[in-house]
Symmetry: C2
Subunit: 256 residues, 2 copies
């Protein structure tokens, strides 16, 4: 059926992530938000197509955000929205987009409620937003995330980032999620590269990725098939399994 | 002494990393090369100033590499140099740089030596390089990395990537490494944001980053001071410790 071949998908929604922070680029901190955001976006029918890591510098943050906004439907940033001097994400984005920075009254109220009489000017910095922004609830601490139309400014601490994403559940327009199915095999990927290429060419409605590994002294590979149509996945997986068996290699359903 | 203030550093060498692979952008695989490369580069006096993650698409790979080459002294790529159909890094970079793809005779010899009579056309794909390239030894498997002047095309599997970087030890011209020193404190960063900003402003020769955490029910933060001059680090760390003590907060030498 033609409608199984992914042609029903008339529009692909894409997103970019801008990871802000010297601590990532120095190797001090391992990013833990990209993979979580990628899977969260896919559930909403949006593909993460690009990510950038930039330092805590106004120009670098501004350029990455504006370039990503020009190329994708949605842009997310993580990091740099705390109370300290190195938290310059809001200022950088406002400057790049030509907006003033203002105190959002609801954010100020949330921070005053959270901190009580421990509120300070530094803590109130977290109520500063580019003019016209909406807030994204933060169930972990008082400082909200910020939404500016299709730009989402999130915290960098993963538990807080994830809480903010939960607050965005169901609010993004998207297309169909990408489904995936893995076929594993105890073989070197280079030994099956030709048959893999053949299956890819005869199934253009899926993407097949090959991910080799070495484990316990054995060579293996997982072949991950991705498509929006479950029938397309099934057909490609069956063709790949048959091609592997024809070479005397027993396929394993799912990742090894 | 004026010579302590980082002014002796006349040139800062910078690098970018382009991480290539649908598996990173889908959330399937966690990148493990950025942090390692960042620390390796710093030992060579080069700062990782930007990283991008791009899908397995010719145009996206080409654009990221050419833009990063225009902006930085060195560019590294990881991923997409294996034997399978989804390994298109060499083709994408050659196309973007207007070079032909050729078989490198030394790479072909290395692959033939490694695989012996198991050599196949797919495995020989790993000898393909943009014309004019040099090889980077791969101590793990037969497939070498590729150097094109100030562009380094590395494998994506971390053990192989790291082996290739060891082969590059001492071959990059750089400046002075960034030194870092951490001061920890059991306090909310927002409680000390003002004093932190004061210390930063009075020590412009260092960068101070603030990294809050929550652990075992307690709030803490590590303040990481970075500079090329050890004396500048010492001065800023002493000033920060004194400022914390003045607020009744005991500083902890090193990261908590």
């Amino acid at each position: 059926m033609a409608s199984d071949d992914g042609k029903a998908e008339t529009r692909v929604w894409t997103a970019a992530l801008v990871i802000i922070g010297d601590e990532i680029l120095s190797g001090r901190t391992q990013d833990a938000n990209l993979a979580y955001l990628a899977r969260w976006l896919n559930l909403h029918g949006v593909r993460l197509k690009e990510a950038r890591v930039v330092p805590d510098e106004m120009a670098a943050i501004g350029a990455a955000v504006t370039q990503c906004l020009a190329a994708h439907d949605y842009v997310f940033t993580t990091g740099g929205i705390g109370p300290t001097h190195d938290d310059i994400t809001v200022d950088a984005i406002a400057a790049a987009l030509g907006r003033r920075v203002v105190y959002h009254p609801d954010a100020e109220a949330a921070l005053r409620a959270y901190y009580g009489d421990r509120i300070t000017e530094a803590r109130l910095r977290m109520a500063r937003v580019p003019e016209g922004a909406q807030l994204i609830p933060n169930p972990e601490t008082g400082a909200p995330g910020i939404r500016l139309d299709r730009l989402f400014i999130l915290a960098g601490v993963p538990t807080i980032t994830q809480g903010m994403l939960r607050g965005l559940d169901g609010t993004l327009e998207g297309g169909r999620p990408v489904l995936s199915r893995a076929v594993g095999a105890w073989t070197a990927e280079s030994a099956v590269a030709d048959l893999l290429g053949d299956v890819q060419r005869s199934h253009p409605e899926v993407q097949i990725g090959s991910y080799p590994f070495w484990r316990d002294g054995r060579t293996g590979a997982n072949f991950v098939i991705r498509a929006v149509e479950p029938q397309a996945l099934d057909r490609a997986a069956a063709a790949l399994a048959a091609a592997l068996r024809a070479e005397g290699i027993e396929p394993v359903e799912g990742e090894i």
